[in-house]
């Protein structure tokens, strides 16, 4: 029982990591209808920039907004310079461009900062409190920041004119243009925001998993899984999906272990966590194609 609680707590902590990245993925999907495969590497690159700023003496909480701003600008530039000329290109060609971006960000990080792991100090105070055997201050900090981000995004889309304009541009570009919305700049804005969210995600993840170029590769997969399970068109769903995936993978290993210990029968264990998580994702999608919390888009014939 004790272990079960610990595994769930740890799962929530990991889930926060996946949820944060899933949020960035959803951001780009909702505003541009594309899935950005390079999101993980961009987040990792931003984390390195944050690390570098901290090496130069800045405090984390000052470096973070600076990095978010730099990443925002990088995101906007990518959309304007690289993607804009291609917006009529077939979907798969754009996917290949994302793969190209992935390769560039990944190898630039390795080329500039090297491949050995770097220690990234946690910005949250190392206090011990009642439940800190289960979940540490950094993990709680991550969950809090993820939820704050989610609320901020929700408020932005729901209550600000800019957010409304972005939603309009994504759902119906033609009508939005007629209403005076600068659709092109809305796309760029979407990319910028996603990059900024990714920067926050990366900077918060790095203290937990140690900073290295391969840091985000596996987290991206879980981020996708979370976004798919929760519904890739729903920010709240994606965050929920991230937490679900995080807890689920730990529980799978836990029960698999239990089964093996008690009866000697091995079905699944630590080696199958990813596989089972993905099987569950595909099952969920088969039963409810737009994810648990996603909304069904009606396709016109």
């Amino acid at each position: 029982m004790e272990q079960l609680i610990q595994q769930i707590a740890s799962g929530l902590a990991n889930g926060a990591i996946y949820a944060c990245l899933a949020l960035a993925l959803v951001m780009i999907f909702v505003s541009t209808d594309h899935i950005n495969f390079a999101q993980g590497e961009m987040a990792m690159f931003s984390a390195y920039i944050c690390w570098q700023l901290m090496q130069w003496g800045l405090n984390f909480w000052i470096a973070l907004p600076v990095v978010a701003l730099i990443s925002f600008l990088i995101g906007v530039s990518i959309e304007r310079i690289i993607l804009r000329p291609l917006h009529n290109a077939p979907v798969l060609s754009i996917v290949v461009v994302f793969i190209g971006l992935l390769a560039i960000f990944h190898s630039l990080a390795g080329g500039i900062w090297g491949h050995t792991i770097k220690d990234f100090p946690s910005p949250f105070p190392k206090v011990t409190f009642a439940g800190s055997g289960y979940i540490g201050p950094h993990q709680i900090g991550m969950i809090v920041v993820t939820l704050v981000l989610l609320l901020a995004l929700f408020a932005f889309f729901r209550f600000t004119p800019l957010g409304l304009a972005m939603r309009a541009a994504a759902q119906n570009p033609t009508s939005a243009r007629l209403a005076g919305v600068r659709v092109d700049w809305m796309l760029a804005l979407g990319w910028g925001l996603a990059a900024a969210i990714g920067a926050v995600a990366g900077s918060l993840v790095a203290p937990a998993v140690y900073l290295e170029p391969n840091m985000m590769a596996s987290i991206l997969l879980y981020g996708f899984a979370g976004a798919l399970v929760g519904g890739i068109s729903s920010p709240g769903g994606a965050v929920a999906g991230g937490f679900i995936v995080g807890v689920l993978e730990n529980l799978i290993a836990y029960f698999g272990n239990l089964l093996e210990k008690s009866s000697g029968l091995y079905i699944v264990g630590n080696g199958e966590k990813l596989t089972v998580a993905l099987v569950i994702v595909i099952t969920v999608l088969t039963l409810k194609p737009s994810g648990l919390f996603g909304h069904v888009t009606v396709k016109r014939v």
Binding site: F29, I35, I82, P85, L86, A89, P90, V91, L92, S93, I94, V95, V96, V97, I99, G100, L101, L102, A103, I104, H106, S107, L108, G110, G111, I112, G114, L221, F224, A225, A227, L228, I232, Y266, G269, G271, E272, L274, T275, L278, V279, V281, I282, T283, L285, T286, P289, S290, V301
Partner: protein, 348 residues
């Protein structure tokens, strides 16, 4: 010039004309088939060169599998590495555990992968576009774990992988082992491309493309969309699986680490860069997959030597830039771009 007209008045070619028109394909095939005998003997192409050629053709078959599914049937797959792995392991296990001859493993790998592809095609029916892309991506990522699964270890040999032997040329032919594999791969590719061409030219092919273009309209016209989509998934997996089997025999070794998700990405990139809806595109794609890393590596070394940069330039950076530039210049792939250029030259 004998022509006939089809029902809707469009001029069609007689089979004989089509056969004759394909003469340049026959010529190319003949030259390629003779390479070991002319090139090998004169030392023009080394054994290593034949290895390279074999790999290009193997990847062309793998890319063709993806193109059938994505370019001609509209179903996105980012997970074809999984089928490649199934084909490779099928061949390796049969050779290692059951002592089968290498050529007999190819049909079995084909059937095995067809079944796996078909089975995966069933849930894929419910998924569309981005969701299908991500679901297949999930499949690709799970492959190494799947291959390491404890209960499969008795035949997959787990993390240690399986060592097999490349076949020696039969009947004492004066070719090396690499050259013999090259001929096998070439023959297999010729057959498979020919079959693909016939498939696409048939009613099935037209149904496939109708589903790609507008699946709702296709189903109102009486096409059983679900049936076709799953079958095409199976066929697509079959092609990539056969490529995997050939790959395993060429390298004489399979291990879970050989089939990470980078492989699926490479096949996809090859398909898009080659030309997602064209058979020649598959060939170009296969060549691209095999060749791009070496060029990126060489170019990186040249640039690093020539210009002093404040960072360690890595080949992947060049690779990424190359991909983006290629998509800029030719968003329809090299085959698509070449076709466009050809049309412009002909002034139509």
């Amino acid at each position: 010039m004998a022509t006939t007209t089809t029902a809707n008045g469009v001029a069609a070619e007689t089979p004989r004309r089509a056969f004759v028109r394909a003469w340049w394909i026959w010529a190319a095939l003949a030259i390629l088939a003779l390479l070991p005998f002319i090139g090998g003997k004169t030392g023009l192409i080394s054994n290593y060169g034949f290895l390279q050629l074999s790999l290009m053709i193997v990847y062309a078959i793998a890319v063709l599998g993806l193109i059938l599914l994505t370019g001609f049937n509209g179903q996105i797959s980012l997970g074809h590495g999984a089928f490649f792995a199934v084909g490779a392991y099928t061949a390796a296990v049969l050779i290692d555990q059951a002592n089968w001859p290498y050529w007999a493993t190819l049909p079995v790998a084909a059937i095995m992968c067809f079944i796996v592809g078909y089975v995966f095609g069933l849930p894929a029916l419910r998924l569309d576009g981005h969701y299908l892309a991500l679901a297949t991506f999930a499949l690709a990522v799970a492959v190494p774990q799947f291959l390491k699964y404890r209960h499969f270890e008795w035949f997959t040999n787990g993390v240690q992988g399986i060592n097999i032997f490349k076949p020696d040329p039969p009947f004492g032919l004066p070719v090396s082992s690499d050259q013999w594999m090259y001929l096998i791969v070439l023959a297999t590719a010729a057959v498979m491309f020919w079959l693909a061409h016939n498939l696409l030219d048939s009613r099935t092919g037209r149904a496939m493309m109708a589903i790609r273009d507008h699946s709702m309209a296709a189903s109102t016209m009486g096409i059983n969309v679900a049936h076709y989509k799953t079958v095409v998934f199976g066929i697509s997996a079959l092609y990539t699986g056969v490529a995997g089997a050939l790959h395993a025999i060429i390298f004489e070794f399979v291990a879970p680490d050989s089939f990470r998700f980078e492989l699926s990405i490479a096949i996809l990139v090859g398909a898009v860069v080659g030309g997602i809806a064209s058979l020649p595109g598959a060939v170009i794609g296969g060549v691209f997959v095999q060749v791009i890393e070496k060029y990126a590596d060489a170019l990186t070394k040249k640039i690093s030597a020539a210009v002093h940069l404040p960072l360690d330039l890595e080949p992947w950076t060049i690779y990424g830039i190359a991909l983006i530039l290629l998509m800029y210049i030719m968003p329809m792939g090299i085959a698509g771009g070449a076709a466009q250029l050809w049309r412009r030259i002909r002034g139509s």
